[in-house]
Symmetry: C2
Subunit: 321 residues, 2 copies
């Protein structure tokens, strides 16, 4: 459905902000608590437990993260799930979100309703409260929803991107590439997996794959080291193969560069018992593939045959117009 309409009665301008806000509360249903713990006061109040608070922010923008081929429900769900994937990547548990909207006054009420219903359904599923937000008029043809998500460590610690050492192993969940064929919105954020991993002492760093493995791996790589990936171990998705058939690129090209995989990239300590780790994973997550794709090596001692990551690029956010 196209988010915009030329029929005034169908547009958010017909409601105006004053009547739109109670509608949004209704669309959000049980995921929208009463003020001041939800929408309706100057700030939302979230009960802090004394644990470190995790904060992440990611938007969905029309023309950038979705177009009219995606249902508004899927757009709303994607908005929350993108952010949930970041909480998962630190081994956190999500708590509460605020949503700042900028939209064309000609945005369709029915589109916005389904967007919020999709957001609410995802929030309900992952136990997140939508506690506040803002609505501002944007330019003609613009719809952007900017969500900030708050969470906390699920256990005693959080896992950052820092901390990889030479010899540490690199694992990735699921399969990679070809997200444009559907995965970019119908993924499941790896929250349970993240919490489980954060409780294991042999995990020393973690992140989610959002801009493509080739680009994201840089963020896990300490100075002086380089990732040594084995091309044949990289779990290439069926969608990546389908894309490759069309683009005439290799499936590996799509697996390393497409982005929006929302899988976990995991660094396991070089001292860890890998067989024990893999067995424990299989018992706990029998249906989610876990692949050992490489190790961290000293930069000047990269083993021969390792994937030349510089030949692949991830998603670059600021391209020329």
């Amino acid at each position: 459905m196209n988010p915009f309409t030329s029929i005034r009665a169908e547009s958010v301008a017909a409601l105006g902000e004053q009547r739109l806000l109670p509608e949004i509360k209704r669309w959000l249903g049980k995921t929208s608590p009463a003020a001041p713990f939800g929408m309706g006061d100057d700030c939302a109040v979230v009960r802090a437990s004394g644990k470190a608070m995790l904060i992440t922010t990611d938007p969905v923008i029309y023309g950038q993260h979705f177009d009219e081929t995606l249902s508004p429900r899927a757009v709303g769900a994607k908005l929350l799930k993108r952010n949930l994937s970041d909480i998962a990547a630190m081994g956190g548990r999500p708590l509460a979100a605020v949503v700042s909207l900028a939209l064309d006054a000609n945005t369709r009420i029915a589109w916005l309703r389904d967007f919020y219903r999709g957001l609410a359904a995802a929030a309900h599923r992952f136990n997140v409260k939508i506690v506040g937000g803002d609505i501002t008029q944007g330019p003609v043809g613009f719809f952007g929803a900017f969500l900030t998500l708050h969470g906390e460590a699920a256990g005693n610690r959080i896992i950052t991107r820092g901390g990889a050492m030479p010899g540490d192993r690199i694992f990735v969940t699921g399969t990679l590439g070809g997200s444009l064929l559907g995965r970019h919105h119908n993924f499941v954020p790896r929250l349970a997996e993240g919490v489980w991993l954060a409780r294991r002492r042999d995990i020393c760093a973690m992140m989610d794959v959002s801009d493509g493995l080739a680009k994201d791996l840089h963020s896990l790589t300490p100075a002086g080291l380089a990732p040594a990936l084995c091309a044949t171990s990289i779990p290439i998705s069926a969608a990546a193969r389908k894309c490759a058939a069309v683009t005439k690129q290799t499936p590996l090209f799509h697996a390393l560069g497409d982005g929006e995989d929302y899988e976990l990239l995991i660094v396991v300590c070089y001292r860890a018992d890998l067989r024990k780790f893999e067995r424990a994973w299989k018992r706990r997550f029998p249906r989610l593939r876990l692949s050992l794709i490489g190790t961290f090596a000293q930069k000047d001692r990269l083993p021969e045959g390792a994937v030349q990551l510089s030949n692949f690029s991830g998603y670059e956010h600021l391209r020329d117009a």
Copy 2:
């Protein structure tokens, strides 16, 4: 300065996201802590004290909250101060913010640098850390910065908008109206005042005036009550008088409806000793005017001569295109 350029070398596209991020960290200076307590990991980590966390979100959008007549530094400062005003309105203390940018790839690097420097200067002044964010490409001619600010109660309690009773007095700080002549960006959020007020037991509700007194007062008014304002007590700003001379509206029209005043609207309990309260205010804030502008009355017993608020309107966020 116009935020956009047609000269590629001057645009953020010339840097690309990878080289832009370290620049932003540099522009933010000391207000940008190291990851994971700042930019650079999947989430930012904020140490929670166990007190209730306050969360608010407000953007600045080109063409909506500023245009090329405003300096980029002032835009960056306004972005933070708008949000600080919400923390002030609950008697809170600000802690940390994340900023999600959506921008045309032709955004000028120099403009963005000064925007972040203005943001950093305001963050430094009000003791806020910029702990994370996101950058996404937006449509041509678009610049929007969406900030989410976190704070906590400064004392034992926070002040919400609820809680006014019949007979309670309504006070407002400063003067109102004519914000377009400068106040919309050069205001000082009333943080110290908010903290001081939250510590007094005779304050029962509070909010900031952002959409104009006529509109915002509704949010403080419980069902069955109505605000009874005395027209001659409303502190009309010199700017409101200047605007009125041009628009041929009354100065009161501007004072009640212009919005972006960022003053505090305070409800004082009907049992409070008003002279004691006003004396204490004057001792603590000798340079900031405090005006008693009315009381809350039963809806059907509004005193004669009270300002007919329905004749005035505040800022409405979704107008027809």
